[in-house]
């Protein structure tokens, strides 16, 4: 039996259509950087974390570096 550490494949394959549809939409609006989807994501995260501000950045290292 194979026990992989992670299974990224499964997560993606199950939601393939949703991902591609969302990306196509971004392509059409052209807001690839700090666009509307990010704004919505930041809002969701700040709700979950119960914090006032939430800013999307390049990666976790960048978040620490900027702070």
């Amino acid at each position: 039996m194979k026990i992989p550490f992670i299974n990224l494949k499964k997560n993606f394959i199950n939601n393939k259509k949703i991902f591609f549809k969302a990306i196509s939409k971004v392509g059409k609006s052209g807001d690839f950087i700090l666009g509307k989807e990010l704004f919505l994501f930041e809002k969701k995260v700040s709700k979950i974390l119960k914090v006032k501000y939430c800013l999307g950045v390049g990666n976790g290292t960048d978040a620490l570096f900027l702070a």
Binding site: F20, G30, D31, L38
Partner: protein, 387 residues
């Protein structure tokens, strides 16, 4: 603390003659999606196989020995300067007529920017460099603005004479050349950007750094990926600036299928506008490249009278005319503490008051360009009655 970009996208995209051509370019992304599906099978999301292909593409394009996919064009410049181990007070010579990231790369890497005036080609005036060289000068960070390569003959001479490395901000200059030698291949480091409106664009941020220097390449290799030599060994502390594989897929797609057309059409459109506008007495043109050099017109600029009024008029007509940029870096709040008394960038200050950018992307037809020309001519003929 609003994210101003969202409103800007929505406003720009509504214009008939827009700078932003992404909705056309990615109208059909099935080829890219196919590659992404393949990527899922390998799951090499960070610095994966497609990143290596892209790096090889850039080695070929620029005829350099090493290329590294990094987080952005800004990161390429930042990592280049970080690799020089700048100490407090070390100076980097550059221009003020540039996007802010050229200068922020210097400052965040620990250096002090020293601004030099530009010529009428919008690039650093090489004749003014030597006067500003001191013992503390550690690099010349030159900008190939709008896709026109600087006068590299003069700049290379200075670099050799004083043994100061050149870092090329070639973010605008993918595919550009000077006397048949590619932008990004002259200095210690050539920095390119794949921002969504660059001549190779990805679905977010991305960049690549090219070099011929082995020791420098080794350092960049470490700095971009936490200083790791292997999963369990960290040699120096570095950064997280790895180009992700999805972006590399998009960049490779553009590189293979679109770059030639993009470059060719931008040059054709720019030449067409040049030809039609050169007789307008209210317009003058920046100095263009000579025959042996290739200018790729990431931005198409003209100098004009009544700059702000003309931009407002063209915007009203649905033409996305812009000013890149109305306030030069040395006059920005961020630059205050780096400005020495008596700094006088006469030409920079003069040019920002008369420069405008017109869209020239590859999806335009001649009638779109004619509409731009007609609108400009109409403006100057009827200027007094336009409010």
């Amino acid at each position: 603390m609003k994210n101003f970009l969202i409103k800007q996208y929505q406003k720009d995209i509504k214009k008939k003659i827009s700078h932003n051509y992404l909705p056309y370019q990615f109208k059909n992304s099935s080829q890219i999606f196919k590659k992404i599906k393949l990527l899922i099978k390998n799951c090499d999301f960070t610095l994966g196989k497609e990143v290596i292909t892209l790096e090889n593409n850039f080695k070929k394009l620029t005829k350099t020995k090493y290329a590294f996919g990094v987080g952005s064009g800004t990161d390429a410049m930042f990592l280049s300067l970080r690799a020089l181990d700048l100490k407090k007070g070390d100076e980097v010579i550059t221009t003020s007529f540039t996007f802010y990231s050229t200068v922020s790369a210097i400052v965040t890497a620990g250096g002090t920017p020293v601004f030099i005036d530009i010529g009428n080609d919008l690039n650093i005036n090489p004749d003014l460099i030597e006067k500003k060289i001191t013992k503390k000068t550690k690099a010349l960070l030159i900008v190939h603005w709008a896709g026109k390569v600087c006068d590299m003959e003069k700049i290379l001479k200075i670099s050799k004479k004083y043994k100061i490395p050149i870092i090329e901000d070639a973010c605008h200059a993918i595919g550009a050349s000077f006397k048949n030698k590619s932008a990004g291949s002259f200095g210690l480091s050539g920095c390119f950007s794949f921002h969504p409106l660059k001549n190779i664009n990805v679905w977010g941020d991305g960049g690549v750094l090219c070099t011929n220097n082995k020791a420098f390449a080794k350092k960049i290799y470490l700095l971009r990926n936490h200083g790791l030599v292997s999963r369990n060994r960290c040699k120096i502390f570095g950064y997280n600036s790895r180009l992700d594989t999805i972006q590399a897929i998009v960049a490779n797609y553009i590189f293979k299928n679109r770059l030639k057309i993009i470059t060719k059409k931008r040059i054709l459109n720019s030449n067409y506008l040049d030809e039609k506008l050169k007789n307008n007495k209210d317009i003058s043109l920046p100095v263009r490249s000579d025959k042996n050099s290739k200018e790729v017109f990431h931005l198409y600029h003209i100098f004009c009278k009544k700059q702000k009024k003309l931009v407002a008029y063209l915007n009203k007509k649905g033409i996305d005319a812009k000013i890149h940029y109305p306030i030069p870096v040395h006059k920005q709040q961020a630059a205050k503490k780096y400005i020495k008394k008596g700094l006088n960038l006469v030409n920079t200050d003069r040019i920002v008051r008369k420069i405008i950018s017109l869209p020239v992307h590859e999806y335009f037809k001649i009638k779109d360009l004619d509409f731009i020309i007609e609108s400009i001519n109409f403006f100057y003929k009827n200027e007094n009655s336009i409010h």
